[in-house]
């Protein structure tokens, strides 16, 4: 019955068109501001190539609502042609047998995606445990380990951009003494985890990060290094203000923009808030990587393609994959979104200072083994494990749990969800 209802609803929306040609139905949650504008570029490209685009935007909850709609469609046996799915979740859907590599791997081969992407980024988009054919296409790379700082606040307190965590702590203490909130933070589980992974990569190093949060080694999770990471988290918690729990990330960014707070640790979508407020990087604010040894925490947005028996839709999937990885879309989309192109050969001339830094750093990090997937944003682990880590991190950050207890709880939580 549920299937029937969903089928009827979909039918009502889809049965009106019958012209042959590439056709695509895209489920996404890019409906506001820059994202919508960027998506329009893709839609126009698609139409210019003779395709018919059926939009299926589902807003709400940063993709939560879209995921619910997607699951309902898949359970009903009628998945959309493509949807926003990223990281290891691509493999989870592949294991459910609903993904269609047959289509876009051809495109990937003829366009030479293997040469256009970093091998690590490329592997995420290959089905059959990251080594088979391509079944998804990346649209951008977000960097997570950014520190956004108010330049005027830093200057008037005689602080330069910290390059070690000790310097960062010293700078924060200075700000605190001057009566400024040092660390603008929103106490929500995912934001706590975002800060945690930047600290973990910075204090533990790139190999520690990989052992613990990519390979989930128990000895690593229980190690003294993890204890040190939690110690630093406790220090950072002391630099937040009273109103932090529950605050949205963009409100925290606003505090930095207005100079009420010194800095924020947040992915590069925070740049959009500065841009909207008319602030210029380097002049009004600093965008600097959080201290680490050439590390780079990445978060890639991708589109995954589902099985379809309709030849028009298969043609549409191929066309979409080609356009999505096209230079034009990768450039325009990322100019709007604040991230950088997943394709390595896009000219960065039109991008701002922060994006240029990001683009240069990812190459250094890729060469030196510092390119690591963000677990807080679902790149290193599936949803279950991500939540297992996140629950402990946020519990520690919002309580007086000791660092040793937290490290052990983290390991226990991971083991319980293996």
């Amino acid at each position: 019955m549920k299937k029937l209802i969903i089928a009827l609803i979909t039918l009502a929306f889809t049965s009106t068109s019958s012209i042959a040609g590439p056709k695509i139905e895209v489920l996404h949650w890019w409906t506001s501001g820059g994202e919508a504008a960027a998506l329009k570029v893709l839609k126009d490209d698609f139409a210019a190539n003779g395709g018919e685009w059926m939009d299926m935007p589902v807003t709400g909850g940063g993709g939560d609502a879209a995921n619910v709609a997607l699951k309902a469609r898949i359970v009903a046996g009628d998945p959309p042609s493509a949807s926003q799915i990223k990281g290891p979740t691509i493999q989870e859907y592949d294991q459910e047998g609903v993904v269609a590599p047959y289509n876009i791997d051809e495109v990937a081969k003829s366009e030479g995606w293997d040469n256009l992407l970093d091998p690590m980024i490329a592997a995420i988009h290959k089905c059959e445990n990251n080594s088979g054919p391509y079944c998804a296409a990346p649209v951008n790379i977000h960097r997570i380990d950014w520190m956004w700082a108010n330049k005027a606040v830093f200057d008037s307190n005689g602080i330069s951009v910290p390059t070690t965590w000790d310097e960062l702590n010293a700078a924060a203490e200075k700000l605190q003494a001057a009566g400024i909130i040092p660390f603008a933070h929103g106490g929500q589980a995912w934001q706590d985890a975002t800060v945690f992974e930047a600290v973990a990569m910075g204090i533990g190093g790139n190999n520690y990060y990989k052992n613990c949060y990519v390979d989930l080694k128990e000895s690593c999770l229980r190690s003294d290094t993890t204890v040190k990471v939690f110690d630093q988290m406790r220090k950072l918690q002391g630099f937040t203000d009273e109103g932090s729990p529950g605050r949205d990330w963009n409100v925290a960014t606003g505090m930095v923009i207005e100079g009420k707070a010194g800095f924020q640790i947040m992915g590069d979508w925070a740049k959009g808030e500065f841009t909207a407020a008319g602030k210029v990087p380097g002049k009004d604010y600093y965008c600097a990587a959080t201290p680490s040894n050439n590390g780079y925490l990445y978060n890639v947005d991708s589109f995954i393609f589902y099985k379809s028996s309709d030849p028009d839709k298969q043609a549409g999937q191929k066309l979409l994959a080609k356009l999505m990885m096209g230079k034009n879309f990768q450039k325009v989309f990322n100019l709007y979104k604040g991230s950088i192109p997943a394709r390595l050969d896009v000219s960065m001339d039109e991008f701002d200072k922060c994006a240029k830094t990001s683009n240069a750093d990812i190459k250094t990090a890729g060469a030196s083994g510092g390119l690591v997937p963000s677990f807080a944003h679902g790149m290193a682990q599936g949803n279950t494990m991500k939540a297992a880590l996140q629950d402990i991190i946020t519990e520690h950050f919002n309580s007086d749990m000791s660092s040793v207890d937290a490290a052990n709880a983290l390991a226990d939580s991971v083991l319980a969800n293996m």
Partner: protein
């Protein structure tokens, strides 16, 4: 034919509604029950797996926190709503002026969505925006009211917002109950020399037994299902300290890709609601049969 139609028309008219409820309510309850016995992860699967999800559920710290919170919330929400509701009802029952206006004012929060209540209270209780800031700005530098951001106390802020929203409704129930009592009883008691307090305490409130019962059932099921209030007010935070079962259920299904575990938690909630509703229905039906 006409006669048959006349006889069966009510059944025919009711049939679609019964069918829809049967499928969409009871059918999906059974479906959820079935899924709770499978090892469903990101999408539902249909091979049986036993009681594994229930074992996992009761071993989960977060679920245990959610159950603790539910007990605290339900108990306090129930007590405060009923006590405040009764007091308001008794005051309004004193044939005061502008009763209609006051009644509307007290009942009005019920017309709001819990999301609105939650958001408003989130701002009122936030130490850097609301009450605490106001008192500090007035010169009480040491005034502290930071329950919302204190993980031990945050659950009580949810009680405050919930009571604010629902106490007026309980008041309305009791007021209706008090008004249905015949004047003669009160007059007779007064002639016998009973004080106003005694009239309420010994005569009127004991007569309100069915109203107590109704409030109990309505409030308990509101509290077991409470989701929107928590999402708006604390999102389960600080940390995971204000997680409640309904929030746990949606997070587990849609953020953690553990559909089976989520179904198990949904069944636990279902059983909790059933434990309250079934005795109520039973007693109601028995009373109707007795008539």
């Amino acid at each position: 034919m006409f006669r048959w139609l006349e006889k069966n028309l009510p059944k025919i008219v009711m049939a679609p509604a019964v069918g829809l409820i049967g499928w969409f309510v009871y059918g999906f309850v059974l479906w959820t029950l079935y899924i709770s016995f499978t090892n469903s992860k990101i999408l539902p699967k249909y091979e049986l797996w036993g009681f594994g999800q229930y074992e996992k559920l009761w071993a989960s710290r977060k679920w245990l926190i959610a159950v603790d919170n539910l007990l605290i919330f339900t108990a306090l929400f129930l007590i405060f709503c009923v006590v405040i509701g009764i007091i308001l009802a008794i005051f309004l029952d004193q044939k005061i002026r502008a009763e209609g206006l006051l009644r509307t004012i007290y009942l009005y929060p019920m017309a709001l969505s819990f999301i609105v209540t939650g958001t408003a209270w989130k701002w009122i209780l936030n130490p850097t925006l609301g009450i605490q800031k106001m008192f500090r700005d007035w010169g009480f530098e040491n005034f502290t009211f930071d329950w919302l951001v204190d993980r031990e106390m945050a659950i009580y802020t949810i009680v405050i917002a919930g009571v604010w929203q629902s106490a007026g409704f309980v008041m309305a129930l009791f007021l209706a109950g008090l008004r249905s009592v015949e004047d003669e009883i009160v007059k007779a008691a007064k002639i016998d020399g009973a004080s106003l307090f005694t009239v309420y305490w010994k005569i009127l409130l004991p007569m309100m037994r069915p109203v107590f019962f109704t409030s109990f059932v309505i409030l308990v099921h509101i509290s077991i299902k409470s989701y929107d209030l928590i999402v708006a007010l604390t999102q389960g935070g600080p940390g995971i300290s204000t997680t409640m079962p309904a929030l746990y259920m949606t997070q587990t299904a849609f953020h953690k890709s553990q559909v089976g575990l989520s179904a198990a938690s949904a069944m636990m909630m279902f059983m909790a609601v059933a434990a309250v509703i079934i005795p109520y229905l039973y007693s109601e039906l028995r009373r109707e049969n007795a008539r």
